[in-house]
Symmetry: C2
Subunit: 262 residues, 2 copies
């Protein structure tokens, strides 16, 4: 199976590297930034281009690892060019598969979504990454499924709705949780305390979830309904209106679970 990678950002980069490592032939890499395209092409032994029109028909699969709002446009241009009729898949959690049909683009299309947060510097452990697969026909769904299985043992068939909900959930546990870590960082920084103090706690908070669901792992003043501590905390946050508000709302939410009358 030959793959052409459209996009050499964080997702494209690590996918390309891993596909190559697993013996999948990466034939061409596209990025609007030529330097990125050439760097990933070098890593994967592929050709590269920074022009969509120059993407050749030689691949079996065109993987669109581009930003969500670019998918429709790129798909349309690919379908109108040499790769027309070939299988296309995007790597987005938030984008319905229908984007391809709506773009009047490919006849064969699908989704190849790795559920992980990628950053250029960190090599992710692919064996731990769930892949969410879909396609507009059974044969291509199987094809994408078996490609994903070369990268990770955790491969799932998810439809648009399931993937959309999964993506929202990912925003809560990744983006929003990271914001709370930032709040912790900032609160400590104003006291001249190092963020490193909180890292073991953050690690353990995540690690505990291997044992039991988060509902069973909840601790703290809101869980205990410890009004005195909550009041003291709110006083401490008086000069941080945004954190004060968040503290109130999240405390209320937790309280609701464990102390509601219903």
């Amino acid at each position: 199976m030959k793959v052409t990678l459209i996009g050499a950002g964080n997702v494209g980069w690590h996918l390309g590297r891993k596909l190559h490592e697993c013996g999948v032939e990466v034939v061409q890499v596209f990025s609007r930034q030529e330097s990125k395209a050439s760097a990933l092409a070098k890593l994967t032994g592929a050709d590269f281009t920074d022009r969509l029109e120059a993407i050749s028909a030689q691949a079996d699969l065109y993987l669109l690892a581009v930003s969500d709002d670019a998918i429709a446009g790129v798909a349309r241009r690919l379908a109108a060019g040499a790769p027309g009729g070939k299988l296309m898949a995007h790597t987005s959690g938030a984008t319905p598969m229908q984007v391809f049909a709506e773009a009047g683009a490919a006849a064969r299309y699908g989704v190849f979504y790795p559920l992980q947060t990628f950053s250029k510097k960190r090599a992710p452990d692919f064996s731990q990454i769930p892949f969410c697969i879909d396609a507009n026909n059974d044969a291509d769904r199987e094809l994408l499924f078996s490609l994903a299985r070369q990268l990770s043992p955790k491969v799932y068939h998810l439809n648009d709705e399931q993937r959309a909900v999964l993506h929202v959930a990912a925003v809560f546990v990744n983006n929003f949780a990271n914001f709370l870590f930032h709040a912790g960082y900032e609160l400590l920084a104003r006291e001249g305390l190092p963020f490193g103090l909180l890292l073991p706690l953050i690690r353990e908070t995540a690690a505990k979830l291997e044992d039991a669901p988060p509902r069973d792992m909840q601790t703290g003043p809101a869980r205990r309904n410890d009004r005195e501590t909550i009041q003291r905390h709110l006083q401490l946050l008086e000069n941080h209106p945004a954190y004060h508000r968040l503290y109130e709302i999240l405390t209320e939410n937790i309280h609701q679970i464990y102390h509601s009358a219903t």
Copy 2:
């Protein structure tokens, strides 16, 4: 140094076990629940009691690992009993050291606060636990400091205010983050999807902080100001008013950091 442990809950349990492991003599264990006191006493080779009046004067340090609102009362009764004049320290992040003075309790008192989330089932890695130490005199501060150093290399002198802010920060990164994990759990459950899908993402979100502060690690639609995805997510959350509201507020908070005009 001989230690008497007041309280055999999660904190008392793991502290007692670790102190014993490190060769510190645990002479007596108190818990209102005799079965807990006896279990921890057995583990540490100590005596046990379920009556505060039966606590002997034989220890050098009385460690109060009790709930925040019980500290003052326990301290007062200890000071009025056999251990009067001995060093007392509580293990609470949220409670000022002054609780001892206000309780008219001990002449020598301090704080011995391990910053970690403890659960009975998981044996914590003490080498990763920051200990926050304070006392009302230099000699006892040094004494508590060196005791903590037997348990962990990460020991800090923190005053009441610093510890209070650290405790609020811990609520954000532990209690509140765990609630977001619960939100993710619940959103998936309603779609029949397993929470395990999110665990690698949660682990990686925590692990990334070893490389860079959370501010640099922020990703997602709020960071990118991706209005289309945010709207789609809010639509998906229409039947979950609490999560809908949280999504809006957290998105607004993240947006503020990266897209404010100032």
